[in-house]
């Protein structure tokens, strides 16, 4: 089963890379790090229906690291929320696919993100709404690791534990790089697990590129009753492309034609 997810993720990586290359802009490094997580969510974990994107009982996914919107657009297109043809409009004038996701324009987007530190508080509100209704739907939110430097996240972390939101899962895309440098050299919050545990969360650390591990960590069977859950996903920025991987230069750099051909060849080489 996981191999099927890996194939989908490989397709999404290639389509994402093509889109960034053609648009001449994007955040390819962070997109490569989060694509496996997004693929597992949309093709295995989330209960969502492209035909009814506003179904009140749907699971919610908030991409708080909104600058990797293009990865989400490609996933939503692959999942049937928007036409696949539309991906090629990314960043073009008047396209609804701008550099950060917009819920009022794109079906499947739950909240507009872009400024960092916004997604987790909103996700806490979503999970609280489900609790008030005693509803079974779950809320997932993905943050970047550098994004955890935003104080608003820690306000939300306190509230989620206080409210006992075991229907909330925070996934930290821990690729160790932020826009300008390594976390280690900027404001090093790692290790995340003991900090989240100290705030009353259940925490699990996984290889964020291992589909079996991602699916297991996000499964409802691993929810800890009464506690919100944090999955620290150890990932690589630029995963799947040798010269981008774990390289801070590729936060929002755009490949030239030679780099694009090489990157595509590498991704095609790992497609089965």
């Amino acid at each position: 089963m996981a191999s099927n997810l890996e194939q989908i993720a490989n397709w999404i990586r290639r389509r994402d890379l093509q889109s960034v290359y053609e648009a001449g802009a994007g955040h390819v490094g962070g997109e490569m790090s989060v694509i496996d997580i997004l693929t597992a969510l949309y093709f295995r974990i989330l209960s969502v229906n492209p035909e009814q994107p506003q179904d009140p009982d749907r699971d919610r996914l908030v991409l708080s690291k909104g600058h990797t919107a293009n990865a989400l657009y490609v996933v939503l297109a692959k999942r049937g929320f928007i036409p696949q043809d539309e991906i090629s409009t990314f960043l073009k004038p008047m396209s609804r696919l701008n550099g950060h996701p917009n819920r009022t324009k794109v079906p499947g987007i739950e909240t507009n993100t872009g400024p960092l530190g916004h997604g987790l508080p909103v996700a806490v509100g979503m999970a609280k709404a489900a609790k008030l209704d005693k509803a079974a739907w779950r809320t997932f939110v993905i943050t970047g690791d550098g994004e955890m430097q935003e104080g608003s996240n820690w306000e939300a972390i306190m509230a989620a534990a206080q409210f006992g939101l075991d229907n909330l899962t925070l996934i930290i895309d821990h690729n160790r790089l932020q826009q300008g440098a390594r976390l280690l050299d900027t404001n090093n919050l790692a290790p995340f697990a003991p900090k989240l545990e100290a705030f009353g969360w259940a925490v699990e650390e996984i290889d964020g590129h291992d589909m079996d591990a991602i699916c297991a960590a996000l499964s409802s069977e691993t929810v800890v009753k009464g506690k919100p859950k944090c999955v620290v996903a150890h990932t690589n920025k630029g995963q799947g492309i040798s010269f981008m991987s774990d390289n801070v230069a590729w936060h929002h750099k755009v490949p030239d034609s030679v780099q694009y051909e090489q990157a595509m060849k590498e991704l095609e080489g790992t497609a089965s």
């Binding site: 909240t111 507009n112 508080p121 909103v122 509100g125 979503m126 709404a129 209704d133 939300a156 306190m158």
Partner: protein, 322 residues
């Protein structure tokens, strides 16, 4: 302090707010309150007693408070996010922009103790920039009711409105002005006094002062129109143009800085549509000194006498320019 008259009963509009909120809460279990350790200052303890699970107190964390409100709205709730206006609009402005306005979530922002209601506590606790900040954002109606009747009507309207809005409330006592059966209409000013020589435009705690000023002016032979303009955005352009055309001079009064608030919103219409002499009364671009809200309003030229004097000067300017 010569306003309001000592024999007039004054009311804290928060009481009308919470009474309406509890009525709406009875009718619809999706009505919830989000606050920042402000159960007492928002006067929502009655709501909390009746529906403790629907009172979501996030603690002293305003950014999270507004984000949680947006998430609750996504989950089908109708959150009234209540906090001292200075913290709600200042601390959480980016959340209001991104999570509420831009995301178009059904969040009702309720700024309590706005303006200089926390007078003596100092400028950190004054909220005299909130009209300007929130008015600059698309998609968020900005409303400052003038009395308890208008407060109740505006809260009921907010519940029925499918989208975000900002209700700017005070705790400073105000007399009754509007009839009991008043219905709030977004973006519509109420002409509460007829007149042809000058128009006074006010809202919130300034409306009753403008009314008293109009009475003073009448004794001096000047007939002042008074518009209660609770909605700062969308502004009632028709009423402003009509006032400019028919009275030839406009004086605005607000418990807010003169930069970017009601006076600015009125001036934008006047400049674009029908230029006439104008004067904007408000806090003149300073951090206010120590004093109660009523003391400071008087100090900044917004006692009824001060308003009347500004109106007389404006009428003289109008005659000069004729």
């Amino acid at each position: 302090m010569n306003a309001p008259a000592a024999n007039v009963a004054l009311h804290d509009c928060r009481d009308a707010f919470v009474a309406t909120l509890e009525r709406l809460g009875e009718e619809d279990r999706n009505v919830v309150v989000v606050c920042n350790d402000s159960v007492g200052s928002s006067k929502v303890s009655g709501f909390q007693d009746r529906w403790p699970e629907r009172l979501i107190n996030v603690g002293i964390a305003e950014q999270n408070m507004v984000g949680v409100g947006a998430g609750l709205a996504n989950g089908g709730k109708i959150p009234f996010v209540c906090a001292a206006s200075c913290f709600l609009t200042g601390r959480a402005l980016e959340q209001i922009k991104a999570d509420v306005a831009y995301s178009d979530t059904n969040v009702k922002l309720v700024g309590i103790s706005s303006g200089m209601a926390y007078g003596e506590l100092g400028a950190t606790h004054h909220s005299i920039e909130d009209f300007a900040w929130i008015r600059a954002l698309p998609n968020v109606p900005v409303i400052a009711p003038a009395d308890r009747v208008e407060t109740a009507a505006a809260v009921a309207w907010a519940k029925s409105y499918d989208g975000p809005c900002f209700l700017r409330l005070s705790r400073v006592g105000v007399p009754d002005l509007l009839p009991e059966d008043h219905v709030f209409a977004l973006g519509k000013a109420d002409r509460i006094c007829d007149g042809g020589d000058v128009t006074l435009i006010a809202n919130g705690t300034l409306t009753h002062r403008a009314m008293t000023a109009a009475a003073l002016l009448k004794k001096r032979g000047l007939s002042a129109r008074v518009l209660n303009m609770a909605t700062v955005r969308p502004i009632d352009g028709d009423a402003i143009v009509e006032a400019a055309r028919e009275t030839g001079a406009i004086l605005t009064c607000e418990e807010h800085t003169v930069f970017g608030g009601l006076g600015s919103a009125v001036a934008e219409v006047v400049v674009d549509e029908f230029p006439v002499p104008m004067k904007r009364l408000g806090v003149p671009g300073v951090f206010a000194p120590t004093g109660s809200a009523n003391f400071l309003l008087d100090e900044f030229g917004m006692s009824p006498e001060g308003i009347a004097e500004s109106a007389e000067a404006l009428v003289k300017r109008k005659r000069h320019s004729d």
